[in-house]
Amino acid sequence: MNLDQVTLEIRPRSAWEAVDLGLLMARRWWLPMTKVWLIASLPLLIIALVIPTDKWWISALLIWWLKPLYERPLLHILSHAVFNDLPDTRSTLKAFPSFAFKQLLLSLTWRRLSPTRSMDLAVLQLEGLSGARRQDRLGVLHREDSSPAGWISFFGLMMEFFLWIGMISLIWSFIPRELNIEWAGLFFSNESTQLIELQIILWYCALVLTAPFYVACGFSLYLNRRVKLEAWDIDIAFRRIVNKRNTAPSSNALAIIFSMLLGLLITSTADTAYADATQTTAPTSEHLPGMETDSDSDSGAIIVDKPLGDYIELNRDTAQRAIKDVMQQSEFSRKEKISAIKWDTEEKKEPSVFWKKFFDFLRNFEGFIAAASVLEILLWLIVIALVAFVFYRYRHWLAAQFVRIKPTQVLREKPVTLFGMDITRESLPHDISQSAMDLMRAGDSRAALALLYRASLFQLIHSGVEIQDGHTEGECVQLMREHFSPSGNTHKTPHNADARIDYFALLTRIWQQLAYGHQNPDTQVAEQLCKQWNLCWLNKTANAQGGAQ
């Protein structure tokens, strides 16, 4: 392998780009490839045609099954042509036995149906790997950019089939309408076996047309993987740099001088020739190439002048009758005896009777109805399970897309302690204002304010303000403001909401000063707060009886 000789533009390609390169390669070397393929496969075609026509499928299968065998010379051609060493047909055929039988049995048995056959062939034929080493190598090659290998097998098969159908259609299109031939039956009916050979030949032609492209695409995928794995592009770039550096300037100068001399020589000879031409036969407008002279057209004059006759419209009925008459003549109604090789079918009578009986038995087997019912139920169960699985698998997405159920509001339990304080009804005295005043008079202003604050929180929680553990005193005031704000509040707003907010804000401020600032509150303000509690929260005077509700 000499990368200097490579005829392709070597660069890492995407997988499908590599397939495209394969198609270009097949077009470039189509003729030598097709020639070798035909020569290699022709003996098989002959064998296939010899096989009795009632066993036509054996012929078709034989040609199709042995495809890996005659794909090998194509790969041989490609692998050499890529490195600018296109082998001729003779040398390819000479080399054919050396690679044709390499792991042939495996290639024609369990590897035959491998979808990546076209790509894998190079590992076997060019690298000569087998067994575990081959598997390892294939593992590396298939790691990426190998998915089109399976697709080209599929497309190749489809292409063969469509080409075959196309060629049959082409032949049918040549049959005049006047001939009432059941063409489909002609080709596809088992009884009319006259055209089996033609069908096999057409199938063979379809294979001829597709094989070079299939092999080239697979090989191109293989090359692309090697280019990526072995960094051929970088290798080539380095080689170019080395070549450029190795080319001595002296040799360059010599080459320039030599080419200049050669150029001078050519120019001088050309001039002489031109001078001669002008002297002898200078081209004139009468003798411009491409213009016919009178003498040239003499012979054709009679043909041109010959009358074509009037246009007569073809009468299809007349034509059909004429064809019928012709067909009824003895030349077309004679009987011919065609001899062909046929399998002796006498022995097969017995098994056919067996199979007939077997199928009759199956046909009349009543258990089928029950089995069918069971099968139907099973199928339905599978369908339901599949639908259920899809619903389960995508339940979150479906829920997000379609289900718009408002989540039920979880009723939050009212907290019994907040900021470390017991704020249950039982923990609070009957008359808050009075109790707070008593504490104030006793000189425990902290306990008095704590009681007022605790009772206020109890009131807030029971009026629907959602206070959590993380909320600070300042946030409680803010929550209260939001709760009793006129906009968007579903709760019943008390008539003295503003007074309550102001009271609570002041209480909070005084409480914070005491708790965090260690500043004793002004006695008057504290007493005022104590007195106003009942009025503010319960609309009662300080002396009135009644506890927190």
């Binding site: 704590a450 553990d469 993380g470 005193e473 300042g474 946030e475 965090y516």
Partner: protein, 340 residues
């Protein structure tokens, strides 16, 4: 009798001290708010950001300002520098910036035949490290000592920077190509990380009107008055340090910071430096709001700016694009507020 007189005298002295502290606090708060209002005139619609920068200044911290280009990050710093009349240096961080370009270096004086120290731009009061994440880690690391110690060591000799000293670093969150994310040690030295966002429509209109009315198309920086001297800033810092912090507040700060270390969704929580920074910032916030004591609300207010750059989210949350602020908000909601 004597005892009671003594007690009376002590109480009076305590009251007087308290009153004088109150009046000083009152003054400090007024000064801080004046400063705030002065900068507000130039930087419109970024009140919260100005406040946070001022908090960092009062709390002896440094600020990392993050925001898309054109939101006035540099203008904020320049106006702050002008307001307090201190020295101001600006270093544009670039990939080829060397540590000595920031701190300074020793240079051989041929005439005197001796080495002399050439001080870098870090010897100032306000250092603007513009686009700090454009410089490689070694240059970013040059700031480590100066940010923590307020001094720079050149050739084995330590030199004090200006007093007060504050680093204001900016970084752009959208262009990540060719940037060097700040190392954790560096991030941790910033007291606050301030996210500067687009102004509201009204504010932008006012700003545009104001800028278009300027004769030379500037931002009117020349109209800013110098309200303070560096010494005044130092007094502000001292007053802030005298603000009362209740034991419960200390517990709350520690609880919040410790919660980041065991919170699901945070793979690396904040260190003790975060607690110190949070408390200092809360004190400064209380000062600006004319409070002589720190409340849990002050701590909560400063929690996100002080912690957002000190936590590392778990890979799952980071991939989902969950912001650190969301997690920190959850912590604030779920960690119990102080109990009395």
């Amino acid at each position: 009798m004597n005892d009671s007189v003594n007690n009376q005298n002590t109480t009076d002295a305590g009251k007087n001290l308290e009153e004088s502290l109150q009046s000083r606090l009152q003054q400090a708060s007024t000064v801080a708010n004046n400063l705030l209002n002065e900068i507000r005139k130039i930087l419109i619609g970024q009140d919260a950001i100005i406040e946070q920068v001022l908090i960092a200044l009062i709390a002896r911290g440094h600020v990392l300002i993050e925001g898309v280009p054109g939101l006035g990050k540099t203008l904020l710093v320049r106006s702050l520098a002008k307001c307090f009349g201190g020295q101001f240096s600006r270093v544009q961080f670039t990939p080829d910036l060397m540590p000595s370009d920031v701190t300074g270096h020793a240079m051989f004086n041929m005439a005197k035949q001796e080495f002399e120290i050439r001080r870098g731009p870090a010897f100032t009061n306000l250092l603007l490290a513009d686009e700090i994440n454009r410089a490689p880690a070694k240059t970013q690391a040059a700031l480590l000592e100066v940010m923590q110690e307020g001094q720079i060591t050149i050739e084995g000799e330590s030199f004090k920077t200006g007093e007060p000293f504050m680093v204001l670093a900016t970084q752009n969150p959208i262009e990540q190509e060719g940037t060097y994310p700040l190392p954790e040690a560096e991030l941790d030295r910033f007291m606050l990380k301030v996210i500067i966002d687009y102004p509201s429509e009204n504010d932008e209109q006012i700003m545009l009107r104001q800028v278009s009315s300027q004769t030379q198309g500037g931002f009117g920086l020349e109209h800013i008055r110098t309200l303070l001297k560096p010494a005044h800033v130092l007094s502000l810092q001292k007053i802030a340090e005298q603000i009362t912090v209740d034991e419960q507040i200390l517990h709350y700060v520690i609880k919040l910071v410790r919660a980041t270390r065991s919170w699901s969704g945070i793979s690396r929580g904040a260190g003790p430096r975060a607690s110190i920074a949070l408390l200092a910032a809360a004190r400064a916030y209380a000062l600006i709001n004319n409070n002589s004591f720190v409340t849990p609300d002050d701590v909560k207010k400063m929690f996100i700016p002080a912690l957002r750059h000190r936590i590392l989210l778990s890979p799952e949350l980071a991939i989902e694009g969950v912001a650190a602020e969301r997690i920190l908000n959850n912590i604030l909601l779920q960690v119990e507020a102080p109990r009395h």
